[in-house]
Structures are given as C-alpha cells and as structure tokens.
Amino acid sequence: MTAERSPASASASASAPAPVLEVAGLARSFGAVRAVNGVSFQVRQGEVVSVIGPNGSGKTTTLNLLGGLLTPDSGEIRLHGRRIERLPAERRAELGIARTFQNGRVFASLPVADNVYVGQYAKLKRTRPFPRLRHLPVLRWLPLLAELLLALVQPPTVRREQSEAAARTETQLARFGTRLLPRADHRAHTLSYANRRRTEIARALALEPTLLLLDEPTAGMNQTETAEVLDQLLDLKAEGQTIVLVEHKIDLVMTVSDRVIVMDEGQAIAAGTPAEVRDDERVVEAYLGRRRAQREEASR
C-alpha cells in the first residue's frame, strides 16, 4: 500500500475552492478497445463540469468508472482527497457520489415515492445502526440483524426517522413541480420516459450527494422537457451542487457548464470554459465540425 499523498493542488490557485474530485491517468479497456485511455481532470466545489464527445468516445465509461460500476485498469480517483477507485459503487455512494444512468434505471415495480425513499435510505441513522461494521466481513451481520429487528419492532425513534424521510421524499418530488407529486403512488414503470428520468434524478438527489453524476439526463426528451431540465440544472447549480454531466445537447451544455471536457477515442482532447472549447480547432474537428458543416449546408 502506498501512503496517501496530499492532492497535487499546486495548480489550483489559493482562492479557488478545494477540488471535490480529482481524476488522474484514468484508463479502462474492454478487450482490445481502450474505452478510456489516460483521462485526468478536476472538479471543484460547486462546479458544473460537462463531458462531451462523439458516441463511443468513452464518456459513459468515464462516468461508470467514477460511480464505481466499473473499476479502472489504472489511474486514480480521489473524492475530497480520498482514493476511491477500488471501492464498490455502494461505498462511493455512501461517500457522497450519486448518479443517474444513461438509459435510466428506476425501480420499476416500486411507487415513485419509494424510489426516492430508497435513494436516502443509506443516510438513515436510527434505522441502520452500526454503519461502520457494514464494511467488515461477517461482522456486517450485526448491523443487518439489528436492522431486521428494528424493522420488526419499529420503536418510536425509528418511526420518527421514517416520517422525516417521507417528508424529505416529498421535498425532492416537489422539485419537479406537478410532474411527480401527483404520481407519487404510481409504480415507476407506468410513468412516461421523461418522468422516469425525473424520478431517477430525484432519487439521486435524495442522497444529498457532494457530487452528482448525470448521464444524458435529457436523452429522449423533447425541446420543452429539455428546457425544463436545463432550468432544474441551473437551480441545482445555484444551490451549489457539484455536478459532472455527460450530455449530447450542446446548447444545454454551453449554458449550464463552468467547464467542458471534450473526449474522443478514450482521451480528453480539450478542456476549458464553454467559450474556449467552442473555438478549439481539435474540438471542431472531432465533434462540432460535423455539425457546423451540416448547419452551413442547411443554411445555404
């Protein structure tokens, strides 16, 4: 085991907030395909960083590596200075990383409210005693059996915590106006596609994450719905939520992001503010160029 060295923060100026996430030399291959090949970046407190790039450029793999669905072949991921790249997804979530999935993963057979409730379950203290023992083999049965006993007995402290959790669930649902609240009792698989995505975002936010990973939150949404998501993202940003966003809709990315990372063939080919990235030649070539060419053709 190498000793944990302090984060290489020499490049960050003294006035800038501390980095929440530091990624260095991240790599992951599938067989002969180098899906992610040496990606490094930082995300500071309150920043919204978008990852863009053509299909197959490694965006979602990067997000899966950050969220813990995949483990990297090499490279480091630090959350608040702590190495996390070998931790499983649930440990990373406990440490404050919440995420949504590219194709949307709700608990289809559960009501909307329960979906969001499960999102904050990991944070409950009275309901889930001895949280530290949960990471130890065999001894993890102690908290599990305690949880079972509490579920059977349901003492007042636990019931109080449950009703607090229910209230927080409602708050998260209210974030989406009248989209989700009237459907709180509907099972998630009966929802429209857009509402399923909203449920997923609400579930992720219920964890009160220090870092939120969003994988194409507007995929399959029409313009009105996309605009709505944009508003919500701007609200989150105003609340100070740190976000890593993978997204294809360039207008949305350019509006909401503090910084943009452009990926192509597993590598970060450019990074900077939206304006910088927009003018970067390599980016235009790899990604935007085709669109520009199309637009010019269309305007002719």
Binding site: L69, A89, E90, F107, S109, V118, A151, L152
Partner: protein
C-alpha cells in the same frame, strides 16, 4: 489408478455431451434449460424401448433416439421457451423446470417407474491391453462422444448455420438485424442439444445397464455442474468441464465410496460459483443488463386482505375447521399448513427480492434434522428445538450462500439449487450425526408445557399457530422499510448499489429470513412424521414450494397459503397418485407462467 482415470474420462465424455447442449442453449437463448436432463432420460428410455422391445439394431436405435429427442427439444423450445422470449429470463427458466417435471413424470406414466435392464448391445470386457480390461462398449462410447463433439465443433465453425448460431450467441439482436433467422437458429440449437442429450442417454443406459425413467434429474444436475464448471455458454468449456467432473468424481468414488458422488458433484458446483462463477472458460457479464424478474413476476399487485377479512379467515381456520373436519381431513390440513409455511419462506426472498430459490428443501432439511436431533436425542424442549431449527437453517443457508450473493440472476438460482442438493448429499454422508440413508426414527411428538401433542386436532392447531406467527413475521417485514429495500433489490440491483446500499447484504438477509421460516416448517414435519430420511427433501419438494407461490402470487404472503391449499390439499382430497400429482404440478406451473404470471392472489399491475 489408470482404471479410475479411464472410467472418469468415459463418464466425463457423456457429461460433456449433455453439458454441451446446455451451454449451446444458454448461448443462443440465454436460458438455463432444466429440461435437458429429462431429454437425456427420454433418450435412455426410448433407446431401451427400441432395442429391448422393438429389437432394432444398435445403430438404427441410436438414430431413432436422436431423431425423437430432437423433436422433443423442438417441442420444449416452441412450447416453453419461445413464447417467453420477450419477458425476463426467469420465466423461461421456470418454464423449462416445469417441462422437466412434466417429461419425467410422463415417462414414468408411460414406462412405469421401476428399474429395468438395458440389453447388452456391445461387449464390455473383451479387450486386454497391458493389464487393463475394457470392452467394445467403452471404445464405442468414447469414439461416438468424441466424434459428435468434433462434428459439432466443425459444424459451428465451418457451416453457414453454424456461423448463424455463433452470431446469435454473441448478440441475438445484432444477428437479427443482419438477417440471421434467429427463431430458426434457436429451434436448430434446441434440436441439436437435445439430440446430443438423447445420444448420451442411450450411451449411459448401455454403460450402467440398469435404467429407470427418473434418472433425468440427476443427469441434468450433473451436466449443469459440468457446464457451469466449464463456463456457461462456452462449448469447449462444456467439454472440459464434463471431463474434469467425470475424472474428479471417479477418483472421489474410488477413495471414499459410491455414496459421495452427489456430494462431490454439488460441492464442485458450489465451489465454482464461490470462486470462479464464470467457470474455467466463460465469463460473467460485466454490467448486468436487466434484472432477472423485473416487472414479470413482481408485476402483480397482491390483493390486500382487510383486517376483518383476515380475522374471519383465522376464525374459520382455528374455530370452525377443527370441529367439522374428521381426523383424515385434519391430517391433510396439517400437510397444507406445513407446506404453506415452506412456501411462505419464499415470499420475501423470491417474491420481494426476486432471488429465485430452487432449493428450499435444503434449509427445510437442516431445520428438520436439527429439531429431531436436539429434541429426540438431547432432550431439548420442543419450542427450543423449533426455534433452533429455524436458526440452524438460517445459519447454514447463509454460510453456504454467502459467497454467491455478489452474483445475480441465473447464477443465484443455480447456487440455491446446488445448496438444496448438497444439503441432502451431506445428510446422506454424515452418518455419525444423521444416520445417513437410514434416517432418524422415533422422533417424539411435539410437547408443550408437559403436554404431548398427538391428536390431529392438536397438531393442526399447533401448525396453524406457527403458520400465523410466520405470516405475521413476513407481512410485518414486507410492509416495513426493509420490504421496500428488498423490492428495490428485486427491481434493480445496480441502481440500489448506486444509492449506497450493498445489494448482496439485502439479498442475503432476505434469504436468511426465508431459511429461518423453512427451518420452522422442517421442524414441524419432523415431529409430526416421527421419522426422517434424506429422500424426503428431494428437488421435487423445492419445486412444489416454488409452484405454490407462483400459483398464489409471489409477492403475496396470503397467496402462499392459498397456493398450498390448492396444490397440497386438493390432490390429497382427490387421492391422486404421486406421479399424476407431480405431472399436474408441472403442467400447472407451465400454464401459470404463460398465462397468469402474477398468480391467483394478485392483480396485474
């Protein structure tokens, strides 16, 4: 030494033939075909019929058997697997399980259940080479199975249809887009797999010379182990796994005696799942695509009983039934109650958490033996024995299953199946503790506060009380926050992990609670029957428990009771014979999965 090795290789070859079929079908249809063992047994029986009764020459009989089992395989695909292609794979898994029960018992009805001699078509000991004796049969078996494996390999590699099969196995959607007739490819695969299974059946029939229609279950499970050992979906793996298993088994038997074969086979199965679930040559998919049950079986919304309805039902069960029913009916009633408890043990783990247990007889057996030994031989009071039975079942089940919870879907079901089988095999071999195949006799009846419970009425009331306690436990947990988390595990493990909860923990907890309840059922069974032996805890028992909750509604605790009344009570009242009963269960399960997957006591969501 060399003798043992040769025996191992020859056995292993036939395992490989059946295992190849399993892996081929798993590859192209993503289904673990539990009917493969039954097709094997059908091969043995039809081979016997053609050679012994119709006096066909050997080569014609083999051709006939292969043709027959190929058609059988086609029927399995068309009737059980194909119609369920669009729903989560657990449906097809259960359907093939049901088909295997139907085929086995149909074969028993047609041929009669007794063991018979397979005519000796080839010499067995006519060669002497360097001190070893072997026969034409050994040579033919080896040559035929190796020949078939090579032929299949060549077919897959060099022909257009072989290419289509490989393409479908790799990605059926992409294959379909490229114009591969995926439906026909699947039919062809089932026919090929089943013809190989039938061929293996004839060969093994000749080799063992004593055959019976019920040999399919064991053969199927063995092949299953071989395929898993090699890596599910990998054909070279199936050959390798079959050979390795045959050799390990042959040496095991030569060192420890014939009784250990099942212990070895299922021990190997569990070890593979613990240590290297992808097997020697296969691999487990990186990111699980879809949850196994998804909205299929979990989609049913259990019908809620109102408190006064529940109270009225309890009143009838406790206050009316004991006074109007005669002793025979009450004894039937106790059977229903015990099986209701056993089925209830699946509600949380298989219903809510969607981990299909195919071996619930395992924990039940642990509970039964624990209680019988503690109360019968160590003088524990009955209630302590009952509680210890639940506890022991939970602990043993939890320990055996713990390494497998990081897996999901098929692999978990395979592990539960292995645990059911390994428990019985262990009981059979732990002579000093369990008296092995002789079993335990003279188990005292339950006694409470110095009063022995002997009459059917008292026994009925005791069982009813335990059922109500178990129902209370399950309903309370299902309605609690844990119930919500369990449903979330069942709906999508990956999403649960992303929410900061360890899916393996909650799956294990649901299984532990289920094993506890199954242990209670085992204890009641032991003290009521007053004797125990390992054959009572057969795969059929696990199958019955599962059928009961599929019938009643997997999510519904009350459905488990209702299912037990229908499936255990009705056949008893109608005095159905055992094979007819199992045949009915199989057909019923098949029909339910196809036409009413949410069960009786649930609405479609």
């Amino acid at each position: 030494m060399i003798d043992t090795l040769l025996a191992g290789i020859i056995h292993g070859n036939t395992y490989a033939l059946v295992a190849i079929g399993l892996s081929l079908i798993f590859g192209v249809s993503n289904v673990v075909n539990f009917a493969q063992g039954s097709v094997f047994a059908a091969g043995t029986m039809s081979g016997w019929w053609l050679i012994a009764e119709q006096h066909w020459p050997l080569w014609a009989a083999i051709a006939g058997v292969c043709a027959f089992t190929a058609v059988l395989g086609l029927a399995v695909n068309l009737l059980a697997v194909q119609p369920l292609a669009k729903v989560p794979p657990i449906a097809a898994l259960l359907a093939t399980y049901a088909v295997s029960v139907v085929l086995d018992n149909l074969s028993q009805v047609v041929f009669g259940p007794d063991t018979r001699r397979f005519p000796q078509a080839l010499d067995t000991l006519n060669f002497h080479v360097g001190g070893f004796r072997f026969g034409t049969l050994d040579v033919v078996m080896f040559a035929v199975s190796v020949g078939c494996i090579l032929l299949l390999g060549g077919f897959l590699k060099f022909t257009k249809y072989g290419q289509a099969i490989r393409a479908t196995a790799q990605d059926s959607d992409a294959a379909l887009q490229m114009g591969v007739p995926v439906g026909r490819v699947r039919n062809l695969s089932f026919m090929l797999a089943s013809a190989l299974g039938g061929l293996a059946g004839v060969l093994v029939g000749m080799y063992n010379s004593n055959i019976s229609p019920s040999s399919g279950t064991a053969a199927g499970l063995t092949a299953f182990t071989a395929a898993t050992l090699g890596g599910l979906g990998s054909l070279p793996g199936a050959v390798l796994g079959g050979l390795a298993l045959g050799i390990v088994e042959a040496f095991g038997i030569s060192y420890w005696g014939a009784g250990v074969d099942n212990l070895i086979i299922f021990g190997v199965l569990l070890l593979v799942l613990w240590l290297r679930p992808g097997g020697l040559l296969g691999k487990v998919p990186l990111i699980s695509a879809e949850p196994l049950t998804g909205t299929f079986l979990g989609g049913g919304r259990p019908i809620r009983l109102r408190w006064w309805q529940a109270l009225a039902l309890i009143g009838v069960a406790a206050g009316v039934v004991p006074w109007v029913a005669d002793d025979y009916q009450l004894t039937t009633g106790t059977q229903v109650l015990i099986f209701a408890i056993l089925a209830l043990s699946l509600t949380l783990v298989s219903g809510s958490a969607a981990q299909i247990s195919l071996g619930q007889a395992g924990p039940m057996a642990v509970g039964a033996y624990t209680s019988a030994l503690l109360v019968g031989e160590h003088g524990w009071p009955f209630l302590a024995g009952l509680f210890a039975a639940g506890l022991a079942a939970a602990v043993v089940g939890t320990v055996l299953m713990s390494p497998t919870w990081r897996l999901s879907g098929h692999y978990v079901s395979i592990a539960t199946l292995g645990i059911g089988a390994v428990t019985v095999a262990a009981i059979l071999n732990l002579d000093w503790l369990t008296h092995g195949p002789l079993g335990i006799t003279a188990i005292p009846p339950p006694s409470l506060f110095g009063h022995q419970i002997i009459t059917p009425t008292e026994t009925y009331l005791l069982d009813l009380t335990v059922l109500l306690v178990a129902l209370g436990l399950v309903v309370r947990l299902q309605k609690s926050f844990l119930g919500t988390v369990w449903s979330a595990v069942g709906a999508d493990e990956t999403a649960l992990g992303a929410s900061g909860l360890r899916p393996a923990d909650y799956k294990a907890l649901a299984y532990a609670v289920g094993a506890f309840v199954a242990g209670l059922a085992g204890s009641l069974l032991a003290h009521q029957y007053s004797y125990l032996d390992p054959t009572m805890f057969s795969p059929e028992l696990s199958m019955l428990a599962l059928t009961i909750i599929v019938l009643g509604g997997m999510n519904s605790p009350f459905g488990a009771v209702l299912g037990a009344v229908v499936l255990v009570g009705a056949p008893e009242v109608l005095r159905m014979a055992q094979d007819a009963r199992l045949l009915t269960y199989g057909v019923l399960l098949l029909l339910l999965i196809r036409f009413r997957p949410q069960g009786l006591w649930a609405r479609r969501a």
